[in-house]
């Protein structure tokens, strides 16, 4: 019985403070801000300028088992994430000024006042490949409290839009300087999956433009998100 009375009293205080707040004419919406570090953990795969966006729970950059969007294909084959950002052009977003070399990182902050937009996606291409990329796909941030940090080790994905030929002229990165995006789709599996890695000339694929140095394994990126 005593507990019930205490609870009622607390509720009464709460009601009072709420009514006090309602006297504010234009309350300022709360800002949800996050600091994000993207660390390239590969041996020699530069990460194309990564793009990031805050969005709602119904948006995704990609889905395993589904065909890549044209925007995802452009990022995964050519390293240009602009079209992914243009899919939700009014959302909070970020595009790095340049590629993130192996062993290096980029840091940025991103924020929103819209509590329905507390989902984070990030994408960048592993540029010495045909269509490999990595990133985060719609990670929910709504339950993070200020000062809290989360660490994600990401997988390498295959966009399923270009055959992993590794041939000269097909890889946009410095290992080749070949073609990036090409609208033709000629992969054996035409949906997004995880990537099976590159073979390379050092691994008995004589025609490959890549060397053993270009090989990678999971995880590929470390992404550290801190709520500010």
């Amino acid at each position: 019985m005593t507990n019930i009375i205490q609870t009622l009293t607390l509720a009464g205080v709460l009601a009072l403070s709420i009514s006090a707040c309602s006297d504010n004419a234009n309350p300022t919406p709360e800002t949800h801000a996050f600091s994000v570090r993207i660390i390239n953990m590969t041996n020699s795969q530069p990460l194309s300028p990564p793009v990031a966006m805050l969005h709602n729970d119904s948006f995704k950059f990609w889905a395993v088992g589904e065909s890549a969007s044209l925007a995802l294909e452009q990022m995964a084959e050519g390293g240009d994430g602009s079209a992914l950002l243009a899919l939700q052009s009014t959302n909070p977003q970020y595009q790095a000024a340049g590629a993130v070399p192996p062993g290096q990182e980029v840091e940025f902050s991103i924020e929103t006042t819209d509590v329905s937009q507390l989902y984070l996606s990030i994408a960048g291409m592993l540029v010495n490949t045909n269509d490999a990329f990595s990133g985060l796909n719609s990670i929910e941030l709504a339950d993070m409290v200020a000062g809290q940090t989360r660490i994600y080790n990401t997988h390498a994905y295959d966009a399923g839009t270009e055959f992993n030929s590794e041939l000269s002229g097909t890889l946009p990165g410095p290992a080749d300087g070949g073609e990036g995006f090409n609208a033709a789709r000629d992969d054996v599996t035409s949906v997004v999956t995880l990537h099976s890695g590159v073979v390379s000339a050092d691994d008995n694929f004589a025609n490959s433009t890549l060397t053993g140095a270009d090989k990678f394994d999971n995880p590929t990126l470390r992404i550290i998100v801190t709520a500010l």
Partner: protein
């Protein structure tokens, strides 16, 4: 008196949550060029296993890993009063990127979940989960699964047709993707680690008419993880 009642109420709730459970399971093949043979899922007691790392494969696991045949595993599990879901994927195979979702009800003492399926093409590679304690709190839980080698057959990577799926017969039975080569001389005739271990991956080559392997190194390799498992506890 009140505290006693609360304790009794809590223990009644724990017993209830440790008893029969209704689960929805989603299983995704994350590989880019490998199919999985018909899946077998089982909920069983905490001391039971379909397989264990660094131990010798059972006859049932060997038949599954070399040819995709889950009949022996299923009969072994039935004898243990386990809950079993066999081949929930439509058409039997799970293609690259494909997700299969199904419901599973577990009996009270079957608190742990295992699964397995052969990886095609491979000699005795399989995707597996060994005795995961099933969460009891309502929620959605995600796991990544790795590729194992049953240790029962040399990884020669030679396409042998359906005969190659029989336990003890060399070679792999098929590539459902239709991209396997022919006339390979074979990568190896030895299986140096005859216990279950993490698969070292397939070697492959790029010669469809010969070479050492009938597996295509550009298409059929994989990196871990090879599958994603999502368990929804209701």
């Amino acid at each position: 008196m009140n505290k006693t009642l609360i304790v009794l109420a809590i223990s009644a709730a724990s017993i209830a949550s440790a008893s029969a459970q209704d689960l929805t399971i989603s299983f995704t093949n994350l590989t880019h060029g490998s199919h999985f043979t018909p899946l077998i899922f089982s909920a069983h007691t905490s001391d039971q296993h379909i397989f264990e790392i660094n131990t010798e494969a059972s006859e049932g696991l060997q038949a599954m890993a070399e040819g995709g045949n889950t009949a022996l595993i299923a009969s072994d599990l039935a004898a243990l009063n386990a809950d079993v879901v066999s081949s929930p994927a439509p058409g039997g195979l799970t293609a690259p990127g494909q997700t299969t979702t199904f419901d599973m009800t577990t009996q009270s003492l079957n608190t742990h979940l295992s699964m397995s399926a052969m990886i095609l093409p491979s000699n005795d590679g399989f995707v597996g989960l060994d005795a995961l304690e099933i969460p009891t709190a309502v929620g959605t839980y995600s796991y990544y699964l790795n590729a194992y080698d049953a240790g029962t057959e040399a990884n020669d990577e030679v396409l042998a047709g359906m005969a190659g799926g029989a336990p003890g017969v060399a070679g792999f039975p098929a590539d459902p993707l239709g991209m396997a080569g022919a006339n390979a001389t074979g990568v190896t005739t030895e299986e140096t680690n005859t216990n279950i271990h993490i698969h070292r991956g397939v070697i492959g080559d790029t010669n469809p008419e010969g070479g050492i392997s009938d597996i295509d190194s550009r298409i059929h390799r994989w990196l871990n993880p090879v599958a994603r498992l999502v368990i929804e506890v209701k």
